[in-house]
Symmetry: C2
Subunit: 145 residues, 2 copies
């Protein structure tokens, strides 16, 4: 059971932009350099975060990206729900493709949903602010400050 | 975020053998027919469940498989931990391969662990008995009783 690399990188971009603060612009190259991960991947990630309304892109010379909303408005559970393809723990979670014959009477399905709900209840209780505020050590590593 | 097909099928095999009861033997063919899933997959699954000590194989003519332990001794969280390859939600969960530079100061890692713990706390609170006992409808579908 894993989150996608795409979710992992999305969260890292948000952490980076979160420690940068709301106004200052960053470039994908800077984020790529800070984490040592592919610029191509990050370009796609930031594009998608833009479509979600979390990241704003300023075009042109001296342009870059920054958070479009305050860190305390970026809920982690909500973000992960959007960046993951799906949360189909088992076949019956996908109503369209499910062919499991015991679905109508299977109590396991409900328990797996209960477990997934508990997982999200934790993520839903945090925002990006919880990870970037008063975290000078994070800023030091990412921004070299 | 998904569980593997292997975990899904393992749980289905355990449900089948659970409704069969401890003594009666089943064949992989019967389980394959009941769920409409590949016999080849189920052969591998039952072999692995055997190695985990959950399923017993009686060889020879009239042989088959059955649970090796009582349903109330088969914990769901424990079983899923064994059938999944790993629970590396993000890169830093894998100590050997992790290259994320912010790991020492990243609070997100702790929160993802907290979410995973909440997920398992639910699964750990159930055993196979919770799904198969007094579930005549499940037996009716799987065994045609």
């Amino acid at each position: 059971m894993r989150l996608t690399m795409y979710t992992d990188f999305s969260l890292r971009v948000l952490l980076y932009l979160g420690v940068q603060g709301k106004e200052k612009l960053s470039t994908v190259q800077e984020i790529s350099d800070a984490y040592g991960i592919s610029k191509n991947h990050l370009t796609k990630v930031t594009h998608e975060l833009g479509k979600m309304g979390l990241v704003e892109t300023i075009r042109g010379r001296g342009g870059g990206i920054r958070l479009n909303v305050a860190p305390d408005q970026i809920n982690i559970g909500e973000t992960v729900r959007k960046t993951e393809d799906d949360f189909h723990l088992v076949e019956c979670f996908n109503c369209e493709l499910n062919r499991c014959v015991i679905t109508p009477v299977c109590r396991l399905k409900g328990v797996l949903h209960e477990a997934l709900d508990a997982y999200f209840k934790v993520l839903d209780s945090y925002t990006l602010a919880d990870f970037v505020e008063n975290n000078e050590k994070l800023a030091a590593i990412l921004l070299g400050e």
